[in-house]
Symmetry: C2
Subunit: 792 residues, 2 copies
């Protein structure tokens, strides 16, 4: 390894404090996995000092500690603002060790002081009931990334770097994680990161060679293939490889100095205008053994440098005296007496490697985004509302109205640069293209003459990877900014699992007094299930909402605005909200405008309400026609029209639900309605014929405990319909206006002969529809041309 020591730059002697810090962190990592007592090894290790259940992951820890130790050095010496993202799974022991040595852990948790008792508690709480997990959970100061699921570190890092021109985001990418699809494509963030307006992402690909039980793909690549792969993704890799600590320290310090110089030069060149175009950003490939400095062999089998060090290298320490002795000598190999005072405080040699104040990795404000968050300057939505002289008399494309408002949100935040729009190549398709009047799509070139709306500093983020869009947005939000992710409804399931992790992160973060809430993650789901003009039976799935409502009610909200102005009202609300995941479902096709701006704001604030203009129940309905979602609302209003025309004696109430969580009991969700309110809307003894945008059983679930639930009858999507017309989709799923009239007639008793005739007429209309579209390929004129009559 001596050939790694250059004549100039960091020399072995100069890195003693880095090495001391590293040994201390390694000691603390092992201690967390094994010890519940005797933390400083002041007496020989006995079985009762060892935890009864050995949980945790050693394998990744020494490498992560090495990175933390060296980042500390460059922060100290260069004054660079650095935050870190740790991708490998189960990196908890390392991150906790680092934060405890920082002093940031003790600042957040004074009951875990920097002394012997604190060290004992640090060890004991790890992977212990009620303690801290082996992942880098929100409880860890300085973290925005859990690694609970692998693959999102690098997109999180890019999200953190956007619009933070003075920040370097050091991101450790595990070689297991690197095999995931989301990680594999996130290397291409290079095509979107501006060297002028954004900060830098410094990937540190850690090749420790092994996953749980297998070699990792990237670690076994010949060097020239690995180099080609990373070069092909736009990076300039620097290699730090070895298993001899002194040599690796020198190589790592040299590499870090080189890449930070390189980053500074790239940014200076771009910011002075001397260079244009996409830079080749530097990165580090760190190849060190899995479980480095741990037991070399256990029970005659090689452990260090193999998959056997993934979790707990010595599995039977309490029972097996040899294992106990090995643990004792392993811990002592770090020379703890040099690293900690007799009181258990980090020794001066260790503390010398800790940066000061907010520069510490555990304290950097960007990793606690709520502390940096500022409310967005949101224009008054009334200035963007569509005119609604009377309900249903005009048509608009809801997302197009939203686009104009988002344009001006973008413009109003242009100087602050804390708002971005994310989407997989669909912003224009989703009819939000007005934002291009205020900004462009981020793209670092090359550019062609035919290109439109592309610019290096653009703040619309489009890559055909929902994973990357969501990862970027999460990173952006977690560092204190705002955003919207618009995507096709069917494909939101691509990020189901990412949503899980983020929602759980928010839930855990909300328990921590020291993490102020961040801006909510806002989904706009459009191109939805009811408009499948181009698509076969492969695209339809409105079930992301079902997935979302399985999460803790404290952190999830679902909105189904029925028209343009309610979409504006909801969007204004969600961009003001904090600490939530908001799902907004809205069509993009022309559809009736129901509410003027004031009515829309009021209706959305209530979340659900009676639409008086469509009702003739005078307070005592015979039937409630309920609806949630734009297409269900249209069919409901059309059904109400039919009923009022043909059965004028029937008292019909129309209830529209925008905020789906209103249906839950208020004991179960912060937005839930008290029973009295629910009963006042839906009645207690009349049929409720509900048309819902998604799978119908969700409404049953939400309203399960309501008095009237036995009379609740829900229509929704039930997996019918391939390439076909809009109205055929609702017919195939029995949610059309005609079927809804039939549903009413079948459920309201004693309606008489007129009703029977109307029922047959409705069935005839369904048959006429089927025959018509087969010939004409488009919907019946009376359906296409229907509007809510002014006469009612």
């Amino acid at each position: 390894m001596t050939d790694l020591v250059p004549a100039t730059g960091p020399q072995p002697g100069g890195l003693d404090t880095v090495d001391a810090w590293w040994r201390a962190a390694n000691y603390l990592a092992v201690g967390q996995i094994y010890l519940m007592d005797n933390p400083l090894l002041t007496e020989p290790l006995r079985p009762e000092h060892v935890k009864p259940r050995l949980l945790g992951h050693w394998g990744t820890s020494p490498g992560l500690n090495l990175v933390y130790a060296h980042l500390n050095r460059v922060i100290r010496e260069r004054g660079t603002t650095i935050m870190h993202v740790t991708g490998p799974g189960h990196g908890g022991p390392a991150a906790l060790a680092g934060a405890w040595l920082d002093g940031t852990y003790t600042e957040r948790y004074p009951d875990v002081p920097q002394d012997t008792a604190g060290m004992r508690r640090l060890f004991r709480q790890f992977s212990f009931p009620g303690g801290v997990p082996s992942h880098i959970a929100p409880v860890v100061p300085g973290s925005i990334h859990e690694g609970g699921e692998l693959g999102y570190s690098l997109s999180h890092a890019f999200g953190a770097a956007f619009d933070n021109p003075d920040l370097v985001v050091a991101c450790v990418v595990g070689d297991g994680e690197a095999e995931t699809g989301p990680l594999a494509t996130s290397w291409h963030g290079t095509k979107f990161l501006s060297p002028v307006g954004d900060g830098a992402v410094l990937p540190i690909l850690h090749l420790n060679g092994w996953k749980i039980a297998n070699p990792s793909v990237l670690a076994r690549l010949p060097r020239e293939e690995l180099d080609a792969l990373l070069t092909g993704c736009g990076w300039r890799p620097h290699y730090v490889e070895g298993d001899e600590p002194d040599a690796v320290h020198v190589a790592m310090a040299t590499a870090l100095d080189t890449v930070l110089d390189d980053i500074a030069a790239i940014q200076a060149g771009a910011r002075s205008g001397k260079t244009v175009g996409r830079p080749r950003w530097p990165m580090i490939v760190l190849r060190t053994p899995k479980g480095w400095t741990g037991p070399r062999e256990v029970d005659g089998l090689p452990v260090e440098g193999t998959w056997r060090s993934h979790q707990v290298p010595l599995p039977a320490v309490r029972e097996n005296p040899d294992h106990l002795a090995q643990l004792d000598s392993w811990l002592r190999s770090y020379r703890p007496d040099e690293l900690f005072t007799a009181d258990g405080q980090p020794a001066a040699a260790v503390l010398a490697n800790v940066p000061r104040g907010d520069a510490r990795l555990g304290a950097v404000p960007h990793a606690n985004g709520g502390t940096l968050l500022r409310a967005l300057p949101l224009p008054d939505i009334r200035d963007y509302a569509v005119k609604v002289p009377e309900p249903g008399g005009t048509m608009s494309e809801p997302t197009r109205a939203l686009g104009a408002w988002l344009r001006d949100v973008t413009a109003a935040s242009a100087a602050r640069r804390d708002f971005r729009v994310f989407g997989p190549d669909e912003t224009e398709s989703n009819r939000l293209g007005a934002v291009y009047e205020a900004t462009a799509k981020a793209w670092q070139g090359p550019f062609l003459d035919v290109d439109t709306h592309l610019a290096a500093g653009g703040r619309v983020m489009e890559i055909l990877s929902e994973h990357t869009c969501q990862g970027w947005l999460e990173g952006y939000l977690l560092t204190g900014r705002h955003g919207v992710f618009s995507t096709y409804e069917a494909f939101t399931h691509i990020v189901s699992s990412m949503f899980n992790q983020h929602a759980k992160w928010l839930h855990e973060s909300a328990k921590l007094g020291w993490r102020p809430p961040i801006a909510s993650l806002n989904y706009l789901l459009t191109s939805h299930v009811w408009r499948q003009d181009n698509n076969g039976f492969s695209h339809q799935d409105p079930g992301f909402v079902d997935h979302v409502v399985n999460k803790r009610p404290e952190v999830v909200r679902v909105y189904l605005p029925p028209d343009a102005n309610t979409l504006l009202a909801v969007s204004d609300h969600v961009l003001r909200s904090r600490g939530l995941v908001n799902v907004v479902v809205s069509g993009k096709q022309p559809s009736p405008d129901w509410l003027d701006p004031d009515a829309a704001v009021l209706h959305c604030a209530r979340g659900a309400g009676i639409w008086e203009f469509a009702s003739n129940d005078a307070g005592t309905p015979d039937v409630v026609l309920a609806c949630a979602g734009d297409v269900p609302t249209l069919e409901t209003l059309a059904a109400a029209d039919l009923l009022r025309r043909h059965l004028p004696e029937l008292r019909v109430r129309v209830v529209n639900v925008v905020d789906l969580m209103r249906l839950l009991p208020h004991e179960e969700h912060p937005h839930g309605m008290p029973d009295a309110d629910y009963d006042a809307l839906f009645g207690t003894d009349v049929p409720v014929i509900f048309a819902y945008h998604g799978y119908p059983w969700l409404i049953h679930r939400l309203a399960y405990r309501r008095a009237n639930h036995d009379q609740l009858h829900v229509r929704g999507y039930k997996e019918f319909g391939s390439t076909t017309t809009p109205f055929d989709m609702v017919v195939l799923n029995d949610m059309d206006r005609y079927q809804r009239v039939v549903d009413v007639i079948d459920r309201v008793p004693s309606l008489g002969r007129n009703a029977a005739a109307l029922r047959q007429q409705m069935l005839d209309m369904r048959a006429r529809h089927h025959a018509w579209i087969r010939v004409h390929g488009e919907d019946l004129p009376e359906v296409r041309d229907w509007t809510w009559p002014t006469g009612h």
Copy 2:
């Protein structure tokens, strides 16, 4: 482009038939998008010949047609067995054109003959209500891949190639699709494909430059970066680039000959033993304009070669005479009179490029896997069952028992090579490691001394990408083989969207008489929500089942075997099943054995049943304790034990549910129970206290229409619990034995003073538990040591 014409090899003149076929396919693609009449342009185009709604995607079609045309040539000339996978979205017009020219479309659909009437029908049905979608749906002969969602083409192609040594799978990868995470990592399939036992995958990366509204990332890479990226993924790219048809034909033909020679040489070397190790497989990069040969400009804006040709380049043909004229000349530019006879049959010059019989891309049997499928030789599960002298008296790790059986399934199918096990680095962790006695993990090297269970010909497929595992398995199944995908429960959501697409594919395929069913896709979800020893509040989510049951009931099944022998019985069943997605949820930790092999088989065949050994109701229960899942079953039995000990007068019935779909009405699901059967199990007038593995509301949904549903009380996972002990997880979610006893006491009327005392005792036990684990870090001895008593 002339420098692309080499002195030897295919020459322009020799490719006339390829060009004729290509022009014919292009003509048919345009016709499908636009025409409803006058298919042969026998009269000047009039507005009424044009469809009223213009849907479909021209942009990708000419490139796909080019590939199909040239694959036809090499199939004809070389006799290679080739199947194709088409990744770009909305490739329907091309694939349908190809299959119609093949003759295979007409063979499958005699109502669409190869004549003028057939061509008219082919055009008219496209993106028309009741017709065919713009994706490559199951209705398209020769397809295994829809492209409804982007990113899975290459993993499907690898899955198809595994164990098909004589097959070449040509896979067109779109440059939009290439940005997705799943596609980005699937290039690494090279590390797993054996040149000896597997076939070849030939990727054709089609850089047409644009997505819906953006340049594609890969198309804008400098050549050296693109070359590095693909080289780094293990490929040897050959470039075919141009916009002049004759030159591109020559280049494409030359490249195809080269890569097929190269593939043959690689395979010959490996199969003769002359070469070892991972080959560098050849691939093609095809760079042609988006919308090639379409309108160059429309309304003054460039269209060909830009994103504006993505869908319908001429949007207003019915209304705008200029557009109509442009369409007319565009169609005539292909010289249809040379391509089709006056009767609308493909002309001889076109047919000359069509291979014969099963060699046609639309007819290759591998793309209709059900025709090749053979039942697996499954050993008798009784030979692998654990001994159960009495219920609950012994403990087993269920997945370990399964592993032994899977080992022998693997061994029994070794010569046939039609069964593989897939998993993201978790086969050993999931305790299925016995399979390594029969086969190894596929790995093409390099190998290290410490490696275990790795071999080039291994049939366990492990890569840390759930997307790739699922994609490989889908490709393997769709080409007529069998497999199991074992994965951690929480992370199954990573493939939620892939499941959607596959389930919908199965549903559509089942309607086609010519597609016999393929083997079911079998998930084994383990390391489940109730065992979070290592994990924080980031991993738990048992909601994949909720997602699955949203799909059509015809194609989904969910099993929750409560112990080792029931897991074996269920596994045997699912490997025999066809055309389904089966989800099996089972723990891997030691847990009680409840049923002996015969009882297990009977219980699983019934899907749900009364456990007499645990019940004392004598046919008239006061309460039903129901359970589904291994941990819920354990807690239920422990609760039954407590009740029978302390309230012996209470008549308790224990019902276990293995097949979750049994709870649905039989009108709604093929496995649903008739009401009479349900009532006989669960009663009609007694409380049913149900413990379910997942989110509790799913049980309410399934049993919603049952008579007794108002008395159904469900406990399950409700998003509580981080790093903690097994029993603490059930306590935190109120599913523990003590709470279940309390639930019973609270719901069965008139139980008297003993019950009140027992209730308090139970609450005290919960408090004792909380105190105990905080100190000891493990569960109460009376919980850990509890077993079902022989006394009852």
